[in-house]
């Protein structure tokens, strides 16, 4: 399973390839499979993503792809020590899923 991630050029926010475009939510991440590299090259050239890269994915508890490595899961959540600043502020369960 291949997930593509990067940052929004202007804001720096972490973004995830959802199959059609870029989402701020890691839950939207799609399995890009063998096309990952081609998609990333196209999207970077069009400046729709910055500093993009491809990571391994695995099925999460809800069946959606999730990053296989804890680093990328923390990247998806936000700092585990400042849950008030994550995309789902204060969601302890989302945070526990990450580790």
């Amino acid at each position: 399973m291949k997930i593509i991630t990067g940052n929004d050029l202007e804001s720096g926010a972490v973004t995830w390839w959802n199959g059609q475009g870029w989402s701020l939510r890691v839950e939207d991440a799609a399995d890009a499979g063998d096309s990952a590299e081609a998609i990333l090259a196209r999207e970077e050239a069009a400046r729709r993503v910055n500093a993009g890269y491809i990571i391994e994915g695995e099925p999460g508890s809800d069946g959606h792809p999730r990053p296989a490595h804890v680093k990328d899961r923390i990247r998806g959540l936000g700092p585990t020590v400042r849950l008030d600043l994550t995309l789902k502020p204060g969601d302890e369960i989302a945070a526990r899923e990450v580790i």
């Binding site: 050029l9 202007e10 970077e44 804890v70 020590v81 600043l85």
Partner: protein
């Protein structure tokens, strides 16, 4: 405090304008990320785990109250209401938007601050003793020398592309409060038998994956040759440093591989050549700089009487204040390590308060310490109770300086894209554990330092207890080490054995602390006991 002259201001303003243009071109697609990245890094702007991160230089850790207010305003206007004070005596912001970065830098420039040379293979922000100018044991204020070196190293064309990053620390006392020998160049201002000031040069220290303690290369460089000698040290490095291998590119490797004698011989040879070329700035410049660092207008009749009837206040005074050279004054340390808090983080409101308190109680001066705390250097003893009352109300009155709760922790995997493991939650759990079990006070001085990877930003090699985060098949794991010190008795910590998981490392720290408590003799600190009894009893207790 040093104030910019028109050259300083022009250099910084020009750089802001240049960066504004570069950002515009990047946003318009005229620069690729590969082209832009080195440009933004020259201005302290990283792309980190969650967003752009900006590192702001605080030369030798000294700030005015007004500058602290500006840092607070920036946290509010461009970030999410907080900043992180670092072991390099700098501040980092974690949520900066690229499009806003030029405005931010412009705000900084108006307050005589910048983010230049806070990244890249150049001479970085120069650190110093956070009690400089206040300490009773210094032979001189080290900051004028740090400032001279700052001016010399700013945009130094020959040293803008060194083999690797380069860090200076300058101190002027026997006691080392700046980890001086763990820098690429550590300078100690000393007095010789004739009573003249000079500089002792320690070259080739550092942390990272190959920690080294800098050897003494020259015990006395006359102050009118300081810059020339520094230039010679850098030249030899710039010429022969290992550009072929990033992991061997720091000066510590060169000095180690050549040997101290050969490196010194080459430096002295270069120094002799440079002396003939008269590159030293005129001594008048040093004198001009020194004028900015004169003593504030102390109250000569200030009383040293103190009302210790409030036990919490008395504890804070005993723990968090340090003797001052001026009778009736102390230096007060504001702990950014509340129990269970994030080491080094301060909110906008806290920064504003610290700016106010600096203005009201410390001649408008504050310092950032390499232990991620803030110092008010010149506080009247008679003002201490009022100061503490305000600090305490704002969550800034924790009495734990140099104790186990006063942990250095790097941002780790919560913020840093190079990390293997999280540092902050470990720091939080350890500080909570020892606050709960009440052993914190009993343990006395115990310096605990945590890094989230081998780069050692959290100084774990130099901790009495050090913790290093490693990646064990995708799971966070923590190595424990003991016996490091970054004080005048500099030593490097040794790993105890196999690593621990998150819960295990907190238990392991308590186990090590218990071994010390059981074996302690007299007034021994943790590090003293460790040096006396060695690793074996700790290993035995940890791994049985």
């Amino acid at each position: 405090m040093y104030q910019y002259d028109k050259f300083d201001q022009q250099m910084v303003d020009t750089r802001v304008a240049e960066f504004r243009d570069q950002v515009e071109r990047r946003l318009a697609g005229k620069l690729t990320e590969d082209q832009f990245k080195p440009l933004r890094l020259m201005n302290g702007l990283y792309l980190q785990l969650h967003a752009y991160m900006l590192r702001v230089a605080i030369p030798y850790g000294t700030l005015s109250g007004a500058q602290m207010h500006v840092l607070a305003d920036i946290a509010d206007k461009y970030d999410r209401g907080y900043g992180h004070f670092t072991t390099r005596q700098n501040i980092q912001y974690n949520w900066i938007k690229l499009a806003e970065a030029p405005d931010l830098l412009e705000d900084l420039a108006k307050a005589e601050m910048h983010a230049i040379q806070t990244s890249g293979n150049c001479i970085r922000n120069i650190s110093s003793d956070h009690f400089a100018g206040a300490a009773a044991d210094e032979v001189a204020d080290p900051r004028p020398y740090a400032e001279l070196l700052r001016q010399w190293s700013s945009f130094h064309p020959e040293f803008s592309y060194l083999p690797r990053k380069f860090k200076f620390a300058v101190i002027a006392s026997e006691e080392d409060r700046a980890a001086m020998r763990l820098h690429d160049i550590g300078i100690r201002i000393v007095k010789n038998d004739a009573g003249e000031l000079g500089a002792a040069f320690y070259v080739g220290g550092g942390m990272g994956r190959t920690p080294m303690i800098a050897p003494l290369v020259r015990d006395f460089v006359p102050l009118d040759q300081l810059v020339t000698y520094a230039e010679a040290c850098l030249r030899v490095y710039n010429r022969y440093g290992r550009r072929d291998n990033k992991y061997k590119a720091r000066i510590k490797i060169l000095v180690h591989e050549l040997g101290k004698e050969e490196y010194t011989r080459q430096v002295e040879e270069e120094f002799a050549l440079l002396l003939e070329q008269n590159i030293e700035p005129p001594i008048a410049e040093l004198e001009r700089i020194k004028m900015f660092f004169g003593d504030p207008a102390y109250d000569q009749d200030a009383s040293s009487e103190i009302d210790r009837s409030d036990p919490d206040f008395a504890l804070w005074v005993d723990t968090n204040t340090k003797a001052h050279k001026q009778p009736g004054y102390v230096s007060a340390v504001i702990s950014l390590k509340p129990v269970g808090g994030i080491p080094g983080d301060a909110t906008t409101a806290q920064m504003h308060l610290m700016g106010d308190l600096a203005a009201r109680y410390s001649f408008d001066e504050a310092r950032v310490t390499h232990t991620q705390n803030i110092v008010l250097p010149h506080v009247k003893i008679s003002d201490l109770h009022a100061l503490w009352t305000e600090l305490d109300a704002a969550g800034l009155g924790t009495a734990n300086l140099d104790q186990i709760g006063d942990i250095i922790a790097c941002p780790g995997l919560d913020y840093c894209s190079l990390a293997n493991a999280r540092s902050i939650p470990i720091a939080q759990q350890i500080s909570e554990r020892f606050a709960k079990n009440g052993k914190g006070d009993t343990l006395g001085e115990l310096k605990l330092k945590i890094s989230g990877c081998i780069n050692a930003c959290g100084h774990h090699h130099a901790g009495h207890i050090g913790i290093l985060g490693v990646d064990r098949k995708g799971v966070e794991n923590y190595q424990l080490s003991l016996g490091g010190s970054e004080a005048e008795d500099t030593s490097l910590a040794k790993i105890t054995g196999p690593g621990f998981d998150e819960a295990g490392i907190v238990d392991a720290v308590e186990t090590a602390a218990d071994v010390y408590l059981a074996a302690r003799e007299g007034e021994e600190r943790f590090i003293d006991t460790y040096r006396r009894i060695g690793m074996a009893p700790f290993k035995e207790a940890l791994y049985g």
